[in-house]
């Protein structure tokens, strides 16, 4: 069982950091507009951070490589990427990829 105090404190920390990031910049609009470093890092961050998070979220199914976990992951990734490149519909890509993953994982777990 997960300790409720640690869940609540994790939520509090995440909420505090997020709120600070959203509110504090209003107090520093002028230096913010001028900073070239911030603009350089900020433009490139979303792409890189999302890719790091994607790799991070897959680490459990990549090492060790096992048919029952790695195969569903690879197929579901192909479905998600292919569908998103084709239709550009985030909800459709996510749901189709997850559905394929759940189906393969559940079936392979029974076998």
């Amino acid at each position: 069982m997960i300790d409720p105090v640690s869940v609540a404190s994790s939520i509090a920390v995440a909420a505090a950091v997020t709120w600070t990031l959203r509110a504090a910049p209003f107090a520093a609009l002028v230096p913010l507009r001028r900073s070239e470093l911030l603009a350089h890092v900020g433009e490139r961050m979303p792409l890189g951070v999302m890719l790091i998070l994607a790799v991070y979220s897959m680490r459990g199914a990549m090492a060790p490589v096992e048919t029952s976990t790695t195969l569903p992951l690879v197929v579901a990734l192909a479905v998600t990427v292919g569908l998103h490149a084709w239709r550009r519909n985030a909800v459709l890509s996510m749901f189709a990829g997850t559905a394929v993953h759940v189906l393969l994982r559940s079936v392979l777990a029974l076998a």
Binding site: V17, W19, A54
Partner: protein, 253 residues
């Protein structure tokens, strides 16, 4: 850009049927509310499947109110990640919000309490829906209606997802792929904005290197390496520009 003074006297006249109250805000935010329902359902299901009580799901939605971070947070919490790791992950995942202050019409939201809520609820969607030039003249009621409407839709769909999640039998496995799918989709969308293969390769290299070097702190190490690489590329680029402009000056007769 010469923005008009943000007072009602100089605000341009509104179209007769447009209105500028909460109702106009609801109309603006409604498509975003409908669009976010599937993601909210998925997040609610994920919370329950991760072994947390169902009511944590609306708590995440109400207090953190940052979709992609919430998905990540569930995994960090079930892995018993230390608070420092949660703080740094939150900082990096939501760093993009720093730039939303540049256009968000907070000057129209009068009153400290309303300003506090408005900054708290400054999500990607709130930013996107107010990123039009005429938003600089919208009323407080209209702006708050957009943010509160989206907040309510997110919490409600997450709570519904958590309720549905309790009905899913344990034989069903692999729902956690929703998190991977979310980040892959967001990564592809980010690539459409910033078409940089080097940035993508460096990020993936940082993630893989961190997975081998520091498996227990993979996320922190990967993000730190990536930010260091971006700062390095900025400093390198600046030096190159400086040398280039210096040599250009010398070449001039």
């Amino acid at each position: 850009m010469s923005a008009p003074a943000p007072d009602t006297a100089s605000a341009p006249p509104l179209a007769p049927d447009a209105g500028d109250g909460a109702a106009a805000g609801w109309r603006t935010v409604m498509p975003a509310c409908i669009a976010v329902i599937p993601l909210g359902l998925a997040f609610g299901v994920l919370v329950v499947q991760s072994g947390l009580d169902w009511w944590w799901a609306p708590a995440f939605a109400a207090f953190v109110f940052a979709g992609s971070l919430e998905f990540l947070l569930v995994g960090l919490i079930t892995a018993a990640a230390p608070l420092a790791q949660i703080a740094v992950s939150s900082l990096l995942v939501n760093f993009r919000h720093v730039f939303y202050a540049l256009t968000f019409p907070l000057h129209r939201v009068h009153g400290l309490g309303w300003k506090a809520y408005s900054t708290f609820a400054l999500t990607d969607e709130a930013y996107a829906l107010t990123a039009t030039p005429d938003a600089a003249n919208w009323s407080r009621a209209r702006i708050i209606a957009i943010q509160a409407g989206f907040h309510a839709a997110w919490v409600a769909s997450v709570a519904l997802g958590a309720g549905l999640g309790t009905l899913i039998p344990p034989e069903v496995q692999g729902l956690d792929f929703a998190v991977t799918a979310l980040f892959v989709v967001l990564g592809m969308d980010a690539y459409r904005v910033r078409r940089s293969v080097p940035v993508a390769l460096v990020a993936i290299a940082c993630a893989v290197a961190a997975a081998f070097l520091a498996p227990d702190d993979m996320l922190l190490v990967a993000m730190a390496l990536f930010v260091a690489a971006l700062i390095g590329s900025y400093l390198g680029g600046r030096r190159r520009r400086r040398t280039a402009s210096a040599s250009a000056r010398e070449d001039r007769p």
